[in-house]
């Protein structure tokens, strides 16, 4: 097909697979951070996002985000993949099918990210409903604003790989979700500790790996923007890690593993919007400076009554916001070929970035709040206290992560009517 570049397409096929891997990696990261009785439920929320958000994205999400250049929302011209084929996507050199798949993986991980705010107590059914509605009503709209020709991108706001629709959207939606669903019953009364720090580190490592596709693919080519974003994805999180180590040392005299895993995520988020726009040097400064607000918010949040359980607001919302603003100061036309920031004499770029950090969090927070209130009016969002105490794995999925098999009796097909059997009838 004319206009398609084979090199660009080859890279984008790989980048798409890399980004898809990020969602199970997020599941592993989140699963390690919860108590062992909620391992599978937490992991399954990420898998659920792959299931639900892919289908909604193919049905209407992609079209609403990327069909046309309406100010607020795209059209329905590409609904149900209509017209999405081998022809190059406008403005790129890759087939629109690849462009669609790559963008789908963004919608998936963003939807999965919000689960971090509601793990260990939100029922699985309502989360599926929420994922379906959120991926269309919030993600697709914000993706249109920032990527698809909406008012932010056409007004000049720069967002390389998703500071607006991915990071700020998930972070501020997570805050709203935590407020509507409410705190875990033992929050603030008992120590609720991560059950497997190795999962957390491995999950963070796989996320970082996938993030090279996320940022490196967001130029939709193997061109300079992609190359710059790719290398910045190495530099920025490394700087965040170093500063996080220092903050840990000052605060507790020890460098923590869970802290390191968090720092990797924060660093990757920081560079997401700015990756293709700032020089490698500024990317490292961004990683270093950007660690501080996220660190501070995590320390502060745990002292509040807000059980935004896995700190999506601190890691994604805050770092995404900092990354978007940073472009306004330090973008460099000699590196990105698009625009300078305030530091290089273009104050207007900063203003364009400020619009994004005001509008995106407000839209995400308000819409998520309303969405969950509406779903909550139809079905209970939370498990009962007893189910929560027993653990979500057993009562939502009928499985356990660390089953021993001791005392398990095989039920043959004829026994399936015995749903619950008293072992020793006390009566």
């Amino acid at each position: 097909m004319s206009g398609v570049d084979t090199g660009d397409t080859a890279w984008m096929l790989i980048a798409t697979a890399l980004v898809l891997l990020m969602t199970p990696a997020l599941g592993l990261f989140y699963a390690g951070l919860v108590r062992s009785k909620n391992t599978l439920n937490t992991f399954m929320m990420s898998i659920a996002a792959i299931a639900v958000a892919t289908v909604t994205w193919a049905a209407v999400g992609y079209s609403l985000a990327f069909d046309g250049d309406g100010a607020l929302i795209g059209g329905l011209g590409n609904a149900f993949l209509s017209g999405v084929d081998f022809a190059p996507r406008e403005g790129t050199t890759i087939p629109e099918l690849v462009f669609f798949a790559f963008q789908a993986t963004f919608c998936i991980i963003t939807t999965a990210l919000i689960s971090g705010a509601v793990v260990e107590r939100m029922r699985f059914g309502p989360f599926l409903v929420f994922s379906a509605l959120w991926s269309v009503l919030v993600y697709a709209v914000l993706a249109h604003w920032a990527f698809g020709g909406g008012w932010l991108i056409s007004g000049g706001t720069l967002d390389f790989a998703g500071g607006v629709p991915v990071e700020m959207a998930s972070g501020f939606s997570a805050l709203a979700a935590a407020l509507v669903v409410g705190a875990r019953k033992d929050y603030g009364r008992q120590a609720l500790l991560p059950h497997n720090a190795v999962y957390v580190l491995l999950g963070a490592g796989l996320l970082w790996f996938g993030w090279f596709g996320f940022n490196g693919g967001s130029g939709f080519s193997t061109g300079e923007g992609s190359v710059l974003a790719f290398t910045n994805t190495l530099l920025c999180p490394a700087a965040t890690l170093v500063v996080w180590f220092a903050l840990d040392l000052v605060r507790g005299r020890k460098v923590t593993a869970i802290g390191a895993a968090t720092a990797i995520i924060v660093g990757c988020v920081l560079i997401t919007p700015a990756g293709g726009y700032v020089s490698p040097g500024w990317a490292m400064l961004l990683g270093a400076l950007g660690a501080i607000p996220s660190y501070g918010i995590i320390v502060w949040r745990t002292r509040t009554r807000v059980d935004e359980t896995l700190d999506v607001l601190a890691a994604h919302g805050t770092a995404g916001l900092i990354g978007i603003l940073f472009i306004g100061f330090f973008a460099q036309e000699t590196w990105n070929g698009v625009s300078d920031g305030l530091f290089y004499g273009n104050a207007e770029q900063l203003l364009d970035q400020v619009f994004a950090v005001l509008a995106a969090p407000a839209y995400a927070f308000v819409m998520t709040f309303i969405l969950l209130k509406v779903i909550g009016a139809v079905m209970p969002l939370r498990a009962t206290d007893k189910e929560e105490a027993m653990g979500m794995d057993i009562n939502q999925h009928g499985e356990e992560a660390y089953v021993t098999g001791e005392g398990a009796i095989l039920l043959l097909p004829d026994d399936h009517d015995k749903v619950a059997v008293p072992v020793a009838d006390p009566g």
Binding site: E399, A408, L411, P426
Partner: protein, 117 residues
Amino acid sequence: MKLVIGIVRPEQANQVLEALHRAEVRGFSMSRVQGHGGEMDRVETYRGTTVQMGLSEKVRFEVAVSDGFVDKTVGALCEGGRTGEVGDGKIFVVPLDHAVRIRTGDSDEGAVTPVSK
């Protein structure tokens, strides 16, 4: 001296710890055990294999106390462990012949009474 053994739900273990603390019972050990009483079994399914889980996770507290502390300890285990549903567990109080604190060699009542240093 008695050995008080309390077998409770894992999700109630923290409440039991709080209740023991309020009752000023300071020395005890706890372990994870599996067992079953009169509760309903859970049925779980793994790739089409359906199993009935006959054993439930429980937490076992063992508290060696002087006679004056027996009622307080039993009271604390009941208070912290009770949900009212089948499966809350059991408490067994058994006589204790002899106890020794390894560090000092103190025996019996002296060994089961906590010291501050």
